[in-house]
Structure formats: structure tokens, C-alpha cells
Amino acid sequence: MRNGNAAGTAQPSDHIGGWTVALLRLAFLGLLMFLWWIASIYVARNLIPSPLETWEAAKQLFAAGRWQDAVRASMATYGSGYLAAAAVAIPLGLLMGAFNVLGKTLEIYVYALSATPRVAFIPLIIVLLGLGFEAKMFIVFLGAVMPIIINTYAGVRQADADLVEMARSVGAGRFRIFTQIVLPGALPFVIVGLRLGATIGLINTVVAELYTAIGGLGGLLAVYGNTFRMAEYFVIVLTLAGIGVIVTEALRYVELRLGRWRR
């Protein structure tokens, strides 16, 4: 039993090679394209564009530079709102976890606020911040900030009491226990929060662009949707899906890198 018995590793039967997964995903994509194509033929009134029409529309949007402008505008809203959310939520969640009084005081408000549909705040935000960039960024911020606070806070709260006692027994002080035991233990939770926040942030980016000054990808969505230019509309939807995949996969990669010790 020298090197064996790695706790928590997958059994051989569970193991699927990276290439197999990639192939299966590609095959599924093919299936989706096929279904899409079928649907484009049989759904009445040209409501669904064919893959080819969509591709043509994408090329035109790209050539005209409209696609790039929209992506740039949306990413500016999304990126700034999301980064601001992370910059506020992680320290706040850590403080709430580290200082029990603060956590117990604030948690009920955090939960209340995160249960309130954030769309409810949009009129207020518009009154306060107008229809410009600040308002959009704030709508993204508001969506992304809650899951990051809640998960960071939970990560600190669930710190392994046995490990903390071990650290105390070797004479480690509060600061060292927090930075070397509690914080690394909370990291997977923080990343889950960041991932949820990224998803909600993207949704709110589009919501913000629909409700405030029409612009970015959300703006194009509204324009093409209202005028039944379904091929262009599909290009935007697929772009949003692509951004979502890229962001969450990037965070998953970070998570894997940080969690190398698990294997």
C-alpha cells in the first residue's frame, strides 16, 4: 500500500479521457446543429434562421464592425461591474466570516437583498444614476455581488474546526490561523461564488442594456428581436452563450489549478 489509496480520486471505471469528452461534446454540437437546421426548415414563418443564414449574418455584422462595438460595450459594462462586485464582496464576505458579530448582523440583510429580484431596483438606479454607463455597471454589480458575498462568508464559516484547533495547539495566532487555515479552506467556496456571480453578472449586463440606454449586445438583441431579423438575433444569442462559456470555463480552470492537491 505504499503510494496507493489516494482518497477521493476517481475509480478507473469513472474515468473518461479528456479527448473522449472533447469528441463527445463535438458530436453533441453536431447533433444540436442538425436539430437547429431541421427546426429552421419546419418551423413556420421563418422564425428560426438556418445555420447558414446565421453564419452569413455574423459575417456581415463583423464586417460592419457592429459586432465588435457591441461586444466591446457589453464587456466594459460586464467587466467593470463584475470586478467591482468581486472587489467589494470578497473582503466583505471574509470580514463577515472572521468577525462573528459583523456576520450575524449583516447576514440577514444580505440574504434579504439576494432574495429580492434585482430588476426591482432598476427604476431606482435609473433615477439615481441615469441611463449611462454607471447605471449599467451598477446593475451588473448588484447582481454579481450577492452570490460572492454569500459563498465567501459560507466558506469562512465552514472552516475545519479540527484544523483550527491543530493550528492553535502549535501556537499559531488568530492572524496566522485565518490566513493559513481558514482562507485557503474558503477558497473553493469563493470560486463557486465568483462563478455564480459571473453568470448572474452576464444576465444583468443584458438586462441593463435592455432597460437603460439601449446598447451593447443587449441593445442589438432588442433591435433585431423587435424587427424580426432572426439571423442577426441568433448571432447575438450565440455570442452571449460563448461569453458565458468562456468566463465560467476560465474560472473552472483557476479552480482546478488551485485544487491540485485534491488529486
Partner: protein, 284 residues
């Protein structure tokens, strides 16, 4: 790292106090408040001592206060009344004691070496000295090859050897061990006992060793302290020659008698304890 750590350690302890190290608990009482608000007496006037180089086993039914004694000896808890002195000073958590827990308590995201170094950070050592010291003790428990492995890659026995290395590496005056081998299989457990004995024979720190196992207590200890419901019931000096692994010794009349005696006392305690699952059962 070629100088014998044991002698260095003892020298340090003597220098700081002018006397050989020892642990003395005198009339220690400790109560806890349960979540429902009621008070529970974990220790009720416990007096016991561990002398320089002595190996003391603490045995008794679960819930009788053994872990609480170790926590108090480490300074993790303060007694409500009575006194605790480790080499004439109230114990503080830190490198004065090395704690080995039943569930290993290794930091899962840190390598074996970093786990051991974690305990060394309270000592005035340079980064390089820390790494050297950690590697020395990892070697001592036979895990040099695994210094850069993560705990998740180790078996239970190996994990407990890392925990032992971590406790030894601070070169403590006293080792506090809380059922350290209880979660290991019988084979590994016996090998770990031998490992511990070989280290202790060289190092000769004081050891306070909590166990459920009568055999383990007799095999390892100079002195066995039998506890029941927060009190010391009996203290027995084990005057069997070492090593005690031989089958001749295990069938020795003194070994067998001591074993029977302890076994019966513990069974009595468990059967008469209203908290126990076996309370009032007639298992004759």
C-alpha cells in the same frame, strides 16, 4: 541536524527552568456548558503527573475526560479550578508540547513538508533551518520520499506518521497523543506503536498517551492512569521489561493479570455508566 535533538531539547527545557521537565495536574476541574444550557462536569478534581522521560497512558471509557486533560496540558483550555504546570509554568499552546490527534489533522492543501513546517513557524528558525528540521523529522518517520506529496496521496498509517513528525519536529517537552492509532488497522497500528517506541527511546520526551486499548497501554506505558467520569480511579506502574512486543512477554503472568484487571475495571465502568450504550446490560 546531526546533533541529537533529544539532548538539545532536554538541555533547553532544563535551561529555562533549572529543573527536569515535568507535567503536574493538581486538583483540576473543568465543566462545559452544553448547547441546551446544562452544565457537564468533564473533570472533577484530577491530579496526575508525568515525570521527565516518562510515558504515561491514560485509559478509560469514552466521555470520561481524557481529551479534556490533553487540551488542558497543551494550554488550549484553562481549568476552572486546580493547577496545571508544565515545567513549573502554566502551559501555553505552542512548541512546548506536540499534539497528535486521532484524525491526523493534516492540512490537505499543504505538502507533507509544509505540514511539518507549519508547526515550526512559532520557533525562531530561518526558512532554511525550518525546511531542514522538517525534512529531518520526516526522514525519522521514514517518509523522506513523500516530503513533497499531499496528504490526500497518503494512507492512514503514513498520514499519522506525518502527524507524529509534526509533533516531534518542535522538539517538545511533552508529546500529547489522543488515541493516535485508533483509526488504523491492527497491522498498521502495531507498526506505528513500534515506530513511536523507537523514536521515544531515542528522544525520551515525556508522553501522555490516551488510548482505548488495554493492550496498547500495557505495551507502551511506564504508568497507566485509569479514569472514569472525570476522575482518576487508579494509577498503575507497569514494571515489565522492554521491549514488550515479544509473545513471551505477552503471555507473561504479570501482563495477563494486568490486562484482565484493567479490562474488568473498564467493563464495570461502561456497564455502570448511565450514558453508555451498555448501561445496565448483564453481559456476564
Amino acid at each position: 541536524m546531526t546533533s541529537a535533538p533529544a539532548s538539545r531539547n532536554l538541555a533547553r527545557a532544563r535551561r529555562s527552568t533549572g529543573a527536569p521537565p515535568q507535567l503536574v495536574l493538581d486538583g483540576v476541574a473543568k465543566r462545559f456548558r452544553r448547547p441546551d444550557g446544562t452544565l457537564i462536569t468533564a473533570l472533577d478534581g484530577v491530579s496526575l503527573g508525568v515525570r521527565d522521560r516518562e510515558f504515561v497512558a491514560l485509559i478509560g471509557p469514552s466521555g470520561c475526560g481524557k481529551t479534556t486533560i490533553l487540551r488542558i496540558a497543551n494550554g488550549l483550555l484553562r481549568p476552572d479550578s486546580g493547577s496545571v504546570l508544565l515545567s513549573n509554568a502554566p502551559p501555553e499552546p505552542g512548541p512546548g508540547a506536540g499534539f497528535v490527534f486521532q484524525s491526523f489533522r493534516l492540512i490537505p492543501w499543504a505538502t507533507v513538508r509544509r505540514n511539518v513546517e507549519f508547526a515550526l513557524q512559532e520557533l525562531p528558525l530561518s526558512r532554511k533551518e525550518r525546511a531542514e528540521r522538517a525534512l529531518h523529522y520526516i526522514g525519522l518517520v521514514g517518509l523522506s520520499r513523500f516530503a513533497e506529496s499531499y496528504p490526500g496521496q497518503l494512507s492512514g498509517g503514513m498520514s499519522q506518521r506525518v502527524a507524529l513528525a509534526r509533533a516531534l519536529a518542535v522538539e517538545p517537552q511533552i508529546l500529547l497523543m489522543d488515541e493516535p492509532f485508533a483509526s488504523l488497522d491492527a497491522q498498521t497500528r502495531e507498526l506505528m506503536q513500534m515506530e513511536l517506541m523507537s523514536v521515544w527511546e531515542r528522544q525520551k520526551a515525556m508522553v501522555l498517551f490516551v488510548t482505548h486499548s488495554v493492550d496498547e497501554a500495557i505495551t507502551l506505558a511506564d504508568k497507566i492512569v485509569l479514569m472514569g467520569s472525570g476522575q482518576v480511579l487508579e494509577t498503575i506502574d507497569v514494571e515489565l521489561e522492554r521491549p514488550r512486543w515479544t509473545s513471551a512477554l505477552r503471555s507473561d503472568r504479570r501482563f495477563v493479570e494486568l490486562r484482565d484487571h484493567l479490562w474488568h475495571r473498564i467493563r464495570e465502568l461502561v456497564l455502570s455508566d448511565p450514558q453508555s450504550d451498555f448501561y445496565g446490560r448483564d453481559l456476564a
